[in-house]
Every structure is written in C-alpha cells, then in structure tokens.
Symmetry: D3
Subunit: 254 residues, 6 copies
C-alpha cells in the first residue's frame, strides 16, 4: 500500500517540489462505499480505482497518486445497508477544495480519477469549479470511459453493476476479495427509455438519472455476476491501464 515513488501520502514535504517537477501530474482517485451485490465488498469502487491509479502511475512514470477519497455519491444505492453517501454539492465542494490546495503547490495538472458512475455529476461540477479557480489543467476521467474494445469479451449482454464485467475486473485485480460462490444473475426490471446495456459504449440521448437500485434489483447485482472470470477481467483492466497511461503521458508532456 505504500510506495515512496508514487504515493504523495508517503512523501515528506521537503521532497514534494522535486517530485512534482519529475512527475507533474497528480491523480486523485475517487471511490465509493456502496452495495456491490452479495459477492463484492462495499469498497469495490475505491479498491479498483486505487489499484488503477497506482498501477498506471507506475507505468507512466510521470504521475503521483494522492490518497484515495474513499467516499462518493451513492444516493441510488442508499436503500442497501452499508452504503454511505454525500450529496452532490458536498462531493463537488470536497474535490474543488482539495484540488485547489494541491494545485497550489508544484503540480501542473490534476486528474480526478473517478471509479463510481454515481459520482459523475459531482466530479464534473467540481472539475468545472476548480478550472474557474485555477489556470492549471483539471482532467475528469471516469474509469469506465477508458474502455473501448475489451468489453467485447463479456457474454451476458449487459454491463452495469456488480455484474459480469465488474466482477471479472475484480477477479483480475483482487481475486481474494470476490465471493464467487455468492455471485448471482439478476437482470434489471425494464424502465422506459433507459438502456441497461453498456453505459460506456452507448451514447445516451436522454439522461434519466440513475434509478433507485431497489426498483430494478433485489440482490444489488444488475447483470450476471455468475459469468465472471479472471480471463475476461484481465483484458479490460489492461485496456484501462494502457489508455490511462497514455493520457497521463500526454498531460505531463503538454
């Protein structure tokens, strides 16, 4: 968990300016504590985004990683015990404040690396606000948007939540945290105009918000977690890593 090369939290303050000169992009991972079905832990998003941030930072060689913000906006899942949430405006305020203070030091750019779809509105608002406060580069990246091709290995026809794809990715990253024996298949009850297909590939013409989870699933899974395998997860996280690494390099070189 501690790596003096890339973790801001592990540095001493006199070393920060030189480190930021060498690695001018700062990644701030944003996770969530929310239900992930009967087989994945509540901190799945935080764990995955933390892993992605530090692995990509190591590969890119031009980025540092700030400590993960472990909580996000999970209003849709609030009916499920264990879920924690901020309001949209609270998450927006947190990220804008943290970004402003961190960019005040030596960094050239900050990346809000967001691991939870429920955070999207707040992170976009925070990025807009932070750009208003500073002239530096503020990038908002939702991890699911980093994947263009690798989801094609999925077979269940839906990429959504605590499902084939998310479980496969977790199997690739931290298999010991997945209780495959408890994984279930539960397809969502249909909602007019709402497409539960593949959030990141489908261009949504209509934003209808994220439905309250209990309206469409009992288990918390939306999709088919039973079809998950480590072999499906690996290419997905590899594409994420490859794309993110390339973005980090471009930001550092800009």
């Amino acid at each position: 968990m501690i790596d003096g090369e890339i973790f801001l939290g592990n540095m001493r303050w006199p070393d920060v300016v030189a480190a930021a000169a060498a690695k001018p992009v700062l990644i701030l991972p944003v996770g969530a504590i929310e239900q992930h079905g009967p087989h994945l832990p509540l901190d799945t998003d935080s764990a995955m985004v933390s892993w992605l941030a530090c692995t990509a930072a190591r590969q890119a060689g031009c980025a540092l990683v700030a400590p993960t913000l472990n909580y996000g906006v999970s209003l849709n899942h609030i009916a499920f015990p264990g879920t924690a949430t901020m309001r949209n405006e609270t998450l927006c305020a947190v990220l804008a404040d943290l970004g402003e203070s961190l960019l005040g030091h030596a960094f050239k750019a900050i990346v809000f690396l967001n691991g939870n779809g429920g955070n999207n509105v707040a992170v976009a608002s925070a990025a807009a606000e932070l750009r208003r406060r500073t002239a530096k580069t503020v990038a908002n990246i939702y991890v699911a948007a980093l994947i263009e091709e690798a989801f094609s290995v999925m077979e269940s026809g839906i990429i959504w939540h605590a499902d084939e794809s998310e479980t496969s990715m977790m199997l690739a990253i931290a298999p010991e945290r997945v209780h495959m024996a408890k994984a279930v298949r539960e397809m969502p009850k249909p909602i007019p105009l709402y497409e539960f297909k593949e959030a990141t590939l489908t261009k949504a013409m209509v934003d209808l918000g994220i439905p309250a989870t209990e309206r469409v699933t009992k288990s918390g899974t939306i999709g088919d977690a039973t079809m998950a395998t480590v072999d499906k997860g690996r290419p997905v996280v590899e594409e994420q890593l490859k794309t993110l690494t390339k973005i980090l390099k471009t930001l550092a070189a800009a």
Copy 2:
C-alpha cells in the same frame, strides 16, 4: 410565437390540469445568450431550442412547452461582448426550483431540453437534484445528443461552435437571422488531448472542460461557417425532431 395548443405560457390556469392530462410531458427549453461568431446572433441557442421544443411538441401531440429560460452558463465565452452567464450552481438552482413547482401541478414528466453545451453540467446537476425532490420523471436532453447520423453531411471535419453545422441548422430554421456574408472559417488552436471533432459522436475519455474561447479562436467561430447551407441543415434538424418526438411519445406512454 403564440400557440394555444402547446404553449403553457399562453394558457389560463383553469385549463392547465386538463391540458396536462392530455399532454403529460412538459418541455422546459434552456438556452443561452453568448457569442456565436460574426454571423449568428447572441440568442442562437435560445432560438434553436425554442423552435425544436415547439415543433417536436406539435408533432408528438403529447407534450406542452414552458417558456424558454433564455439564459444559461456561458463562462467559456465571457471574454466576448454580449455574452451573459450564470454560475453553474445558479442555473442548477433555477431549474430545480422551476421543475419542482411545475411538477407539483399535473405533469407526469419534465424534459429539460438544453440547447447549449456550456449548460450541461448544471442541467445534469439540476436534474439529479430535482429527482431527489420529486418522484416524477426528469429527463435531461442535450439537443446535440439527438443526432446520430445526419451530421455525416458536414464536410469541414469539425462540428463545434458557430460553424458549418450550427450555421446550417440555423439556415434551416431561421435563415433571415444568419449573416452568411460575415461567416468565417477558423480552425481552433490545438489543445493536447482535447478533440475538436464532433462533440456528440465522440466518446470523450477525458473531460478537460470547455476551453476559454479566446484561447482557440479570434472570431468566435470554431470550425468553418462558410461551408454552411440550408441543405445540410435540414436533415440535421429533421433527425433531431424525429428522435425527440419519439422520446416524448415514450415518456408520455410510460
């Protein structure tokens, strides 16, 4: 400009409940007052979104149109005289308040029909907040997201602002408001990782915000307005209309 059949503003209050029973979807068009190059008026977005709302409402037969909110978020264009803007949180508050009061009466669903990309973050926030306040359907539609195919008639290789596509659409809707003699071609100065290609077709992996307009253009046009024709504009607005009409019918039937 006044049409007793679909315009909420033209109704008397005792008629509203019956009208909303017959046409249960309410469209609230959201525009902007911002620079649109040397050839298009400041209220281009408001004019286009108003036209789209009322034409689609007439075709669909199941929607009413509330008066257009003539102002939006145009922070990126603020260096250009005549541009007016709210802050993101202000637009969010306006739409959430208006939506809450209007949905308190007889409507089943509200559509924030947004004509300006700069409004996107605020409208999404408002829609999320409004969903928190009410159990009714709140749809957030950005007009550019209604087009999947028709942009293929454009030739300049970029679909952005006060350009070939927007000018063509305005020629199709309100040709008397376009000063083609003043139209210019100005390609944007490149920004790393930022793709000035086709906002609505490209899946943006990285949200870098909207750059301050004066960084990338002098004229206010980003693209090539000189290539605009009414023949290019017509299929685009027709696709918009067709898609929106279909959405309105689905929302009304849900």
Copy 3:
C-alpha cells in the same frame, strides 16, 4: 419580436461594444409565469414587461433590451396550476450573476425592469448584491411604481391582480390575448391591516407579505376584471412609457 436596433439577443458579438456606446443603458426585463385569473394567460407579466421594455427603449433611443427572464417568484400563487416559481434566493442569484456578466462588457447601467410584485424582494436583493460586485449603476424598477396618475381612470376601487387595471393594460397592449368573456369580479376576503387598494399608491406602513392567493380569491382575480376596457388601459401604459423613457434618458446622460 426581433428588432436589430434594440434587442441584445439579435446582435452579433462584434457589434455589441459600439451599440452599448450609443445606447449605454441595458434593460433586463423580469417576468413571471403565474395564474392571472380565468381570462389572462400565465405569461401576462412577462408579456407586459417585455412590451414595456422594448417600447420604452425605442422611444428613449439610449437603451438596449436583453432577453426577458421569463420566470420569477410566484410563491403566493403556487396553489394554482400552471404557476412556476423560484425561491427568493434563486432569483436573487440569477439576476446578480446575469447583471455582473452583462455589466462586464460595455454598458454603463443596468435596469432590472420587474413586472411582478412577487419578485420585488428578490430583485431588490439582487440589485443590492450587484452593486456590491460592481461600481456601475444598478436600477431596480417595478413597473407598477411608474404610474402616479393614470390609475385614476379605474372605477372598481381596487388595483390588485388580474383585475380592472391589469386587464385594461393587457387590452391596450395585446387585446387578442384577453378572454373578456371569462373575466370575473371577485373582491378579496379582508385580512386585518392588509390594504387591497392600490399597491403602488398606498404607502404600506406594515409589510405583511403577499397572502397566499387561495386565502382571498377562488378565481385568481383580486378585483373586478369585468370593468376593464382598452380606453382605461391606454393612459396607464402611456404614463408608464413616458416615465420609464424619461428615467432611461437620465440614466444614459448621468
């Protein structure tokens, strides 16, 4: 509806600085969408204030007109279907933001021309806030305060809402929008210390707020709309125009 001489919305940005030099006062009309009895449309206030702004601007020759803000604070009428409202603090924020951005360009002064009594507190707050943000002149004008004499032609003994005076004015401005056949007479139920006489001529010693409309009227009319005539309306709108025109000239010359 479009007039290149005075409408800011119809201008192209490169023309704004010269236009504002010639016509240094900017009018921002503020309306409302609220019940106006069984015979007047929901957008009565917006329609009247828009007409007044552009007619006075043309007569004065020293003012431009920004697009009307079609919505205001109509909390008192919220029980009547079709009424839309913002909270006071929301309208205050909108006007302060818009005013700040518009005054940042070439104008010398801004006039919030307010057509709805329910907006008064918020517009006054916005004007105060905007003066704190800028050194330019910010004038807050409630249209009913522009009349000193002409209301004397009214006969029903009360000047209030959707009544003899308002209906007469609408008959003078846009007769096709008045359904005189549906006009009614309904005198308000009395409220201690509250004077339903003539809002603009009476010096209120005690501000008791605007009572919830449903407490004092069933029809939405407070007064006698059946006595309205175009001949009564004409001198009223003429006095409004004359007074406003004079004010605009003074502001431009200051």
Copy 4:
C-alpha cells in the same frame, strides 16, 4: 432598562406561555451600529428602535418586546470608523432563525421593528422566508414608514440621516446623548434620479440603492442637524408611537 411587564428577556421560562396569551404580539427590534454624524452616537438606531418598541408595547398592552438585535446592515456607511455591518443574507438568516424559534412558542404574531433603512432589504427577505417556514403572522415595519404627517414640522427640506429630523427625535427621546454643539449642516452632493427629500413620503420610482455615504457627505450628516429641536422631535415620535400602538392592537385582535 428592565421591565417585568413587557420585556421577554426579563421573564422566567415558566411565565412565558401565560404572558404570550395575554400579550400575543412579540416585537423584535432591529437596530444598527453605524455612523450618525459628529453629534449622534453609533448606536442611535438601536437606541431609538428600542425606545419605540417598549413605549408602544406599554401603551398597547398587548405586546412583549424581545431583546434588541443591536446590529444590522450598514454597508453604505462602512467607510466611517465604528460602523459594523452584516451582509444582507446574514441579517436575513438571523431574523428568520430567531423568528422561527420564538414563534414556535406561544406567540400569535411577530413584528420585526426595523430602525435602519439599510436593513430594509434584508428584513423584507427574512420576513418572506419566515412566512414560508410558519403559518403565523410576520409583520415587517420600518419605523420611518410610521410617520405620515409629523415630518411637516421640519424646515430644512430634507429628511435623511443624522439630520434635522433624526436629531430632533433623539432630542425628544434621549437628549443627554445628543452633542448639539457638534451638529452640522451638510447637504448631499446630488446623484441623478436619486431624491434626497423624504425617504418615507416619496414614492421612489427607481430604486438605485443607498449610495456609499462618503460619496455625498464628509461629516456623515445628510441634511441639517443644526435645525433640530426637541419641539420638532416630540410630534414625530408621538405619531410613530400612536401608529405603532394601533397596529399592535390590530395584530393582537386579528
């Protein structure tokens, strides 16, 4: 300063319900700490409004007096040492909170008795907000609005600030606090469209805000304090008292 009959602050909690049953109107005096020329103390508004509240409450026999809020909005006077101010939204929040808690007990109505013109916008906003929070009567009374006739004894042709009228009233209430030897005459520098005549009698067609005091006066007096006499002050405060007493009785009986 302490009077068990009317001062809420001097009561013990077990006596409050019975006291409020007997005297159902609660007056909350709102003052200011701001410059009042070279001859009147900084707390002039607080002193005068406190005196008026308790004298009227004694005469009316149906009202209690809460402790005076000693501070208000004095942004216009801020250039003068000793002036304290809140922002408008702060005063609004204070009064809405205090009113809500006090009305939660036994009172039927609350009167914000405001002694400072600079407070007007905030007190009106607070009253509107408090009416939204509670169904009880909320009255907003500006002390200068209580006078219709008695100002006619003034001779200097202007009724404004730290002047003939205000000094005369202070001579009638607390002569020992007036340094007549230091009183000055200073007429305000003219401002276009701004009438320094008699704030409470003139119907202002245009609200231009309160000008920064240092723009129009050096001494802080706006008017002629040298013409003040106790004989001019007495009828003014007597009219105020008489009018307020009548209002309190009406509110109690309603």
Copy 5:
C-alpha cells in the same frame, strides 16, 4: 448602561480612531436568550457577559466594548418557552461579518467574549473564518474557561446550568434579578459517558454534544440553585475579571 469611556455604541464616529489607538482591543460580548430555570431570567447569559465585558474593560484600560449580541445558539433548550436560537452556521456568519467590518477600522484585536456554552461551536467556527479573512488577532473566550480555582467554593458537586454556581454569580452581579424563592435543586438524569461535573475543569475526552435539556431536567435547572449565595458568587466573578483583565492587557501589548 452608557459609559462614554468604553462603549463603542456611545461614541461618535470621528472619535473612534483615537479611541482605538488608546484602547486597541475590542470586546464583542455574545449572549443568549434561553431558559435559566424558574428563578433566573431568559437573558441571564447576555446580562452576565455584558457585565463582565464592561467591568474588565474598565479595569484593563486598554479595551472598548461593542454592543452585546443578545442572541446565540440555544438549540438544546428550545423545548422551553421563551428560548430563541439561531442555527450554528447563522451565528458563525454574524460574528464573522461583524468582526470583519469592525476590524476594518482601527482595532488591533477582537475578542469574542462568549457567555453561553451552546454558542461554543459557532463562535469557534466564526473565529476561524474571521482569521481567514483578516490578519488581525481574533480571540475566542468562553467565560466559564476563565475560572480555574474559584469554583472550589461550590458545594453541590456539579457546575452546570441555572445552578449553584450560575445563580451565585448572578447574585454577585445583579441580585435584584434572581428569584431565590423559586430556585430549585434538580440533578440531571445520567447519560452514559456524559459528565455533568464541571464543564470548565473537566477535560472532555468525548464530545457528545449538549443533550436536549428536557431529557435531563424538568425545571430547567441542572444542579442545585438553592445552595447559591452571593458569597460564593463573588470570588468566581472576581477570578473571571482578573483573568480576563490580564488577557486584555496582553493582547493590547502584543
């Protein structure tokens, strides 16, 4: 109640700069209107803190006293009639605004002298915010924290609210305001981990908030008011005075 030497409210503005040069520390007393048992008045905190401020200012010779803010945060006592309260964020805003305006003039330091434990969180927040806005010294002093030794004269084993200590202090300051005949003894119902011993001497390891008063007492007294005597009160207020006077001198000399 009026003392030209130390009361800011009694000064004329032209004298303030010289006064602040001679007495560079400004005390802003913060009180409360809240239940104080059956024998002490609602304004006990305001009265005591006002007395302490002006007595210490006179003894120290280096401080002025601003008018007392008569209201505070009394959420815990709200079930008892006569109690008024602001929300924490409101009191914070008031004090930050007032402090900012007052420090903008000639003072070197401001002391928020707080007489009510319920105000502690808000006053600390305000002091922190005010330090962010200005470079001058902002001291937050809770009157109970000024006593280290003198409470040893108390015999009832608890120092809390409207009790032996507070009643004794009031007997020493304003005996005519104490109804000893109505004083009662009521020990609080125990709450786990919550120590009703001596707020100011006990280092609280766990902050559990202030319990709603009605949970622990019926009379409003928490402790034994019947054991109060003027002889117990005198050393306590003397220690407060002595300590505060010393602090004021140090602040003035810094």
Copy 6:
C-alpha cells in the same frame, strides 16, 4: 489492511445488519494530508488514526470501522508543499452527510475519531449538525484528548506537531515510516498568550486559532523530534487504546 471482522469496507451488504447488531458502534476515522516535518510522511495523521481505530475496534469487540476519510482541514500548514485542505464548512458537510447515511442503516452510534487538531472545529460542527439530523448518538473524539498520563514520559517540554511525542507514537506504530535521520529540533517562535506546551492537557482560556505554521517554524517540526523513541511512544498509544476501548464499550452498552 483488510479484516473481515471489523472493516465495513470489506463487508458485503447482506451482512451489514447482522454485523451492526453485534457491533453497534461505527468508527469513522478522519485524517489529514499535511506536512509533518522533514522526517514524517504527509499522511501521518491518517495512518495513526486508522491504526488506532482498527486496533481499538478489535480490542473492544463492539465496533466496526468505516474507511478512513483521508483528508481534513490543514489550512495552517498550507504554505508547505504537499499539504491538502478543505475549508471548515466542507469537512463539516462531508461528515454530516456520511454520518447521516451510515446511521440510517443499523448502527446505534457513530464515532468521528479525529486525528488532526486542525479538524477540530469542523468535526465539532459536523457532530452538532448530525445530532440535529438524527436521534442516534454522535461522539466526537480527538485522539490527543484520549491521553491523560502517558505524555509524562516526554522530555522536551512541548507536545505539539511532528515532534517528540508524535514521532515517538509513529515509531511505536509504524517505525518503517519514520526517517529519524532527518528529524530535527525546532522550538516555535513565541506568540503572546499562545501556549505551545501540551495541547491536550492545557486548558486553553483563550482560543487564538492555530497560527500559520510558517510563522513559527521553518522545518515544520514544532518541538524536538530528535528526542523521540519507540519506548516513549508505546505507553502513549497504549493509553489511547485503553481509553478508546473503554469508551467504545460504554457506547455499545448504552
């Protein structure tokens, strides 16, 4: 880092209700990312409070641990590179939101376990706000307040920041993260009335805020880190653990 017995983040949602029934107290550790001298890492506070939370939870057997909020209020240290901070109101909002959502599920009480003195005002405000929103127990514990005796082993005469005590504690918890070779001794420049002695044992009569760190130290250490030893750190963390464990048991049993 992962322990299925006590970490909420590692649980699956269907297990939470039973877990909370068995362990009804939820600890939410609050850290900071701020300079800790040349020898301690930026995340020292987060690391220490996380360790304390999980160790005490294991010993007590009645508490779960939510993921650590890695960021806090570090405004005083902001001049030192690597420091991140929220504003006070932001941290307050975050904790109130998270607490409200987490207490909505099965827990009986929440403990904000705060590891950074700079967070104190915001955490106290959040706890107060959360108590207003819910009827459950909200405890605010500052880790330094848990120590009454063990600091007596310290020799340098000051217990402050990145010093003998903090370094000793870190040596006891995570010795591999301490660069003793870089540890320095730097006594703070004196500030009138401000006691740099032992924050947790000294009763502060005057709250002067936390001074900007760069005013009193160059290295970031305030005290003598060179005197730190693991033998001094061990009894301190043991007392913290013992006291906290006892508190957790009492809260669970209440």
